[in-house]
Symmetry: C2
Subunit: 354 residues, 2 copies
Amino acid sequence: MKINRFVENPLITPDDVKPYHQGFEVIGAFNAGVAFYKGETLLLLRVAERPISETPNIIKVPLLKNGELTLLEIERDDPRYDFSDPRIIHEVGSEADFIYLTSLSYIRIARSRDGHRFTIDESPFLYPFNEFQNFGIEDARCTQIGDENYYINFTSVSEMGIIESLVKTTDFESFEDMGNIFLPDNKDILIFPEKINNRYYALSRPVSSSLDRKDIWISKSSDLKAWGEHRHLLNTSKDDWDNGRVGGGLVPIRTEKGWLEIYHGATKNNVYCMGALLLDLDDPTKVLAKSKAPLMMPEMPYEKEGFFGEVVFACGGIVNGDKLTLYYGVADRSMAACELSISEILSQLESELE
Amino acid sequence: MKINRFVENPLITPDDVKPYHQGFEVIGAFNAGVAFYKGETLLLLRVAERPISETPNIIKVPLLKNGELTLLEIERDDPRYDFSDPRIIHEVGSEADFIYLTSLSYIRIARSRDGHRFTIDESPFLYPFNEFQNFGIEDARCTQIGDENYYINFTSVSEMGIIESLVKTTDFESFEDMGNIFLPDNKDILIFPEKINNRYYALSRPVSSSLDRKDIWISKSSDLKAWGEHRHLLNTSKDDWDNGRVGGGLVPIRTEKGWLEIYHGATKNNVYCMGALLLDLDDPTKVLAKSKAPLMMPEMPYEKEGFFGEVVFACGGIVNGDKLTLYYGVADRSMAACELSISEILSQLESELE
């Protein structure tokens, strides 16, 4: 697979983003959903900000409550907590993966005419606006349906769990809240860009803790707000690049061969790669083909080293004829981009079938 | 709270049920959904059958695949497996709670004119009919909407996870499949018996493994098949009878004071009790009151001892004026029943508010 990484990579780093909160530092500008709006490429950046601690032994935890931001101070040698994963604070002995996140994420827009040089908005576009988002909002995906309507779904995190929420915008300034669309724990929702046989479709990645599954499912809707007729779509593999978890990446792309889904897979050791999935045009619950080898894996220094290394994680792209420009988060820290040929991806999927 | 347990209790035990599968024994007839149909009380029994093993050291595991029942044989001293919970087989070292169930559950109807003496159908009403049900179907609930339509939801278990499925019947002989209505892991779905402000509502009990939550949520629908606008409804308590998990029990009952939901709570040690919840009539996402003490807890020998002891677990009831006849599973083994006064439950909820 020929991957033309942009020479400007990384395109956007935390250093390019001015903190929105006083006394905070930006530690991530990554995992952006992508929209094309009025001649501009918009990156719906996940900006992660962390309170600056004056004392090395104190970690400050950002928490929202009734829209108010508060800081909780925890001592790093407090034996009740485990700080080994930089993204989270784990309570020792708890069954929960985490009790707090170490940063607060929200969605901020970066805009570009040429798709290479971006200007970042001064303030957030989507900032946590209800109690389901008290720990932050993450990893937006944007589906354009028709000429004017853009649907943005994102992960809402709070002490109640990890769920998926949906808003609609026509101008990327204001938005209409369409509610929580998937129950805990779920993330990586990708809404298809058109109705198929009069129904909307979406991919999602629910977690079955009972059976230890992190697979992709597919669901149907009449109104984008309520989802049902859920079916299992894709397993993790047994011993391959996607044996730890799989999840949707980009909004599915209509091609002659089928719906092309660029998705992520991670090993049990959290190396995140991108692969491809081909779904039947008339019935996307049918998988026609799946990448045996990843399309793309962490290779460049900015992909291998960062806040949480060995991660390429695309949430959006721009299609122009055969050219797919993939905008992808790297190492839970920055944004990068690359170009791929859609026909080449389809050929590889076909060749692997033989 | 005055609880009049039936003198006939337990009403139905495994000994009353003829196995459907040759070479199997019935080990449970419990957790029945309840319907009133053509003058009869119907119990939609969860019947659990286990393959009889001729050799004490061999455990036989029932598995469905493409509708075919197969038996897997595992040696009890196989160090790869843990058999300490009689309901499941755990794979040592796995993050999953279980790899197999020790019995296969399906739904079979028991019918009664007087609500006390039941005749059990010879064959199943709902038997696993798709790949999401390869480990069995469990814990039906039945919501009558209008005069003729009965909607039955139940838990579908397979290697893909624990999900909730829905069928519709008008005759309790045939049914229409309405698909999977909630993604893994979810169970204890209770559909309200009428639309409220033109929307259907349902309770559910999704699992957040990330945050270790087993709480009740509430969702909306236009067609009963697709659900959205999810909101959190009820936490587990901190240190009380329901500190381990909570989940809906009966179809919510319309009263003058609000929607009365009889739900279950369990301690972290798996003692299952029943409590009451009162929800706003016009907006059931609002909790008006909740039992401080359980309405009912395991007290009788048939409630305390069984396949999995210390469990009262009601999935349905019959309302007649102020009288609520609760049909409830006991010790994951049998069915029992009792009568409660609805006004007394409401008074207790009110008194606890003061």
